[in-house]
């Protein structure tokens, strides 16, 4: 398997002196021998059905012989078959060879389309094919799909401007829940030392808001809807649709960032709420779009581990997720197994926190998503969940997270989040 770390990819992108042009894109593809050896390696002893291997070999040969129509057709069949295999059994049990095959199939399809359509007429489709490979597959040949995307980015047509709504007056920071209840607050620290952070937050298992640590991020100067649209408008991302992930109507829809902004973030053309309910949640956007990665910085605190670990590589071991959506997105009350630093970049979020000792009063679900509470925290059913009220009064901590602040959430600490404005947050799990 081709190893490819974030660091290597970033270095590659930074050092690219000779950018390939559209017509030379096929030069990115390894030679036939290497392609066939790769297929052999990833399918060996993997119970891959023979017909699929035959098709893979056919595609390796036809792309090397520049038979692009054949490559496109076979590539398409490979993508369809592999997609079926990715849906057999649970996602976590899927053998990584299928992820690699999916990426390889996307590569075949993308290159063929680029070579067959000189007039760039299919550029959005090509961009989408590459994105599907990036989203669903695993990096191969030095993250070749991202290299292709760099070429494609240069040729993408101007994307329609998005008009940004003005924020209707700034609301002062407040801890008033609005429901008449007075709630406790969290601790606020300004640039604590590593030691203080470890002692007061991680070891003490106490959430806290940290100020003054992310001011240097370019994101604070650059990020708005227009910037996102310009940087990544054509890119396909998985958007959560439906009100929240605990609801029956929840699903994921693939759409471009431009479409997401227009349909789910901006108000509808006639005014009022956005056309559709959607939230770009828990997505590794910064892996997919490396240009955005340079707008943020992993907080130093992520280097602190509570276990004795030598050579802890921050880039490898920290999960960075983007949370981008309109006002009103809700993450139902749940807990995560890792330490979390949630950085607020754009907009404000209302957050309620409960220690893990409150678990019984939060009535965790009994199905697969058992890290999630059954209680609707802002509108609890006291008859169905009688223990909740007292736990809420005694133990709930509430805050409104402002741009420039980051919230530390200890592992297994329950948290509920609702956005008060169009919001962009970045979370770091380690």
């Amino acid at each position: 398997m081709e190893a490819s770390s974030n660091k290597t990819r970033l270095e590659n992108l930074g050092n690219l002196e000779k950018m390939l042009t559209w017509s030379d894109c096929h030069q990115l593809v390894p030679p036939q021998k290497e392609l066939l050896a790769f297929v052999d390696r990833i399918t060996c002893n993997k119970n891959v059905t023979r017909g699929l291997i035959v098709l893979l070999q056919q595609a390796c040969t036809s792309i090397s012989c520049m038979e692009y129509e054949q490559t496109f057709n076979v590539g398409n069949e490979l993508m369809n078959f592999t997609w079926e295999m990715l849906n057999c059994g649970h996602w976590k049990d899927v053998d990584c060879c299928w992820l690699q095959i999916y990426s390889l199939a996307s590569l075949f399809k993308a290159i063929s389309l680029m070579k067959m359509t000189d007039g760039r007429s299919k550029i959005e489709e090509i961009c989408r094919v590459c994105d599907m490979g990036v989203l669903m597959g695993a990096p191969i040949f030095d993250d070749i799909l991202n290299q292709l995307l760099k070429i494609i980015q240069q040729n993408l047509p101007q994307i329609p401007n998005v008009v940004e709504e003005k924020m209707a007056g700034d609301c002062p920071p407040t801890h008033d829940a609005g429901d008449g209840e007075v709630r406790k607050s969290v601790n606020y620290l300004t640039c604590p030392s590593m030691q203080t952070f470890k002692y007061s937050c991680m070891d003490a298992v106490e959430p806290a808001v940290i100020r003054g640590c992310v001011d240097h991020w370019p994101a604070f100067k650059k990020w708005n809807l227009q910037y996102m649209n310009e940087m990544a408008g054509h890119r396909t991302v998985p958007v959560e649709v439906g009100s929240k992930y605990t609801d029956d109507d929840w699903g994921q829809k693939l759409m471009t960032i431009n479409q997401f902004i227009r349909e789910c973030v901006l108000p509808a053309p006639h005014g009022g709420k956005p056309l559709k309910q959607g939230y770009l949640a828990q997505h590794q956007l910064f892996d997919q779009i490396p240009e955005l990665r340079s707008d943020i910085d992993i907080p130093d605190y992520c280097c602190i581990t509570t276990a004795e670990e030598d050579g802890f590589d921050v880039d490898e071991n920290v999960d960075i997720n983007a949370w981008f959506g309109p006002k009103g997105t809700v993450s139902p009350c749940h807990h995560d197994p890792k330490h979390n630093l949630l950085v607020q970049v754009v907009g404000r979020k209302l957050i309620r926190l409960y220690p893990s000792s409150c678990s019984p009063s939060l009535y965790p679900r009994e199905d697969l998503i058992n890290n999630t509470s059954q209680v609707d925290v802002e509108n609890p059913d006291h008859q169905q969940f009688p223990l909740f009220h007292q736990a809420d009064q005694l133990h709930c901590k509430q805050l409104i997270l402002q741009p420039g602040e980051m919230l530390y959430i200890p592992p297994k600490y329950w948290h509920y989040i609702r956005s008060l404005d169009t919001s962009f947050s970045v979370s770091f799990w380690w």
Binding site: R50, L55, N80, E84, G89, V241, D248, Q252
Partner: protein, 399 residues
């Protein structure tokens, strides 16, 4: 319009037409990776033909024919004579290096290493399994599933050189039919009950939830009706009742259940509301499929009666008592043959609602029975009773 007929007995030889995926030359030797419009494949009884993703296997007299991918070679056509102890062959299927043949004496013969044999060789069996009622080969996952009389079910992994028993359980069900999908299975009992087991996360088990089951569990919602046949697709199912109605359940990402599918959404929605055009990604309980909704120009107001059902990976097919063929679901490889697919006017990656395949009516053919390959559809048919015009001679692709 087609006239009403009594359904013909399906035990006679009929013309078999095929359409859909041809990437391995299994339907016709040509550059075309898709067979559209339908072609005449051969004349046989449909149950003598098995279709997987990359090949087709059929029996003729004492020989077994294989077309498509054979070993590592696509566009192959091989035939072999098999020694099954002079027993009558019921069905056979080829996969990788093995030919499986089930006889009327309930014996399943395994002919191994056939790829090392010459064409027309006589093959002698290796292993023989006894008391076998039915078997299914799932090419995608290299699986052989076998159901034994008064014993139970075994799932084997067809490996490079061997057959490994993966899962087995006993069940005291008197079995009529076994059907297997990519990650789930159905058993139809002789008295018309349906049992399901395997992965449940796409609603494919039909118990109204998304829970997986290790062993066969009765589908209670179907208990009130008597089911005469079942069909398992990749992640969806059809069941045919003795009143000739279709029930459908499972994953609906491509509209394969026949109910409206959400567009572009990978949905785990289990909402079963169908009024107001609401679509569902998953149908967790068997639901009556009313094909009348999709029939625009029916002459009479009678309900549609279904005589035959079949499922592929993400598509379905059903034959009606008056000889029409409905298909629905995923259209990308030509497996639906709707008007829009033939004229190239549709987006084949989008889900297609049920529609009659017009080609058969135009050719004055009455569809009697239907079967699906993974990405293809086959129909056995006969000429319309009152067809007076000279029929166009169909170039027979096989034989």
């Amino acid at each position: 319009m087609l006239k009403r007929h009594e359904p013909s007995p399906v035990c006679e030889k009929k013309d078999i037409y095929a359409f859909g995926y041809n990437g391995f030359g299994q339907f016709m030797i040509s550059q075309s990776r898709k067979t559209l419009p339908p072609i005449h494949l051969l004349q046989t009884k449909l149950n003598k033909l098995q279709v997987t993703w990359s090949s087709i296997t059929w029996m003729k007299d004492k020989s077994i024919h294989i077309r498509g991918l054979f070993g590592e070679n696509p566009s192959s056509h091989k035939s072999f004579i098999v020694d099954v102890n002079s027993e009558k062959m019921k069905c056979s299927c080829y996969h990788h290096d093995t030919l499986f043949v089930l006889t009327s004496k309930k014996k399943l013969y395994f002919f191994n290493n056939i790829t090392s044999h010459e064409n027309n060789d006589k093959l002698t069996p290796g292993r023989v399994e006894e008391n076998v009622l039915d078997f299914v080969v799932n090419e995608s996952i290299n699986q052989l599933s076998v159901v034994y009389e008064s014993w139970g079910v075994k799932h084997f992994k067809i490996g490079e050189d061997s057959l490994q028993l993966e899962k087995h359980f006993s069940c005291a069900i008197k079995v009529k039919q076994l059907s297997c999908g990519n990650s789930h299975n159905l058993l139809l009992s002789a008295d018309g009950h349906v049992f399901s087991w395997g992965m449940g996360s796409r609603g494919q088990l039909g118990h109204g939830d998304l829970i997986s089951q290790e062993t066969p569990k009765l589908i209670e919602i179907l208990d009130m009706i008597r089911v005469t046949s079942v069909a398992c697709g990749g992640w969806h199912n059809l069941a045919l009742s003795d009143t000739q109605d279709i029930y459908t359940w499972g994953w609906n990402c491509s509209g394969q259940t026949g109910l409206p599918a959400p567009s572009g959404v990978f949905s785990t929605s289990v909402n079963n509301k169908k009024e107001g055009g609401e679509s569902c990604g998953i149908i967790p309980s068997p639901t009556l499929l009313q094909l009348e909704t999709y029939c625009l120009h029916r002459e009479d107001d009678n309900f549609i009666s279904i005589t035959s059902i079949a499922c592929g990976a993400k598509h379905s097919a059903a034959a009606t008592s008056d000889g029409c063929l409905f298909t629905w679901g995923w259209a990308e490889h030509g497996q639906l043959a709707h008007e829009c697919c033939l004229s190239g006017s549709c987006d084949v990656s989008l889900s297609h609602l049920p529609a009659i395949v017009p080609w058969f009516g135009k050719e004055k053919l009455k569809v009697v029975e239907v079967k699906c390959g993974w990405w293809s559809t086959l129909a056995s048919s006969e000429e319309e009773f009152d067809s007076v015009n000279t029929k166009t001679k169909h170039k027979t692709a096989a034989e």
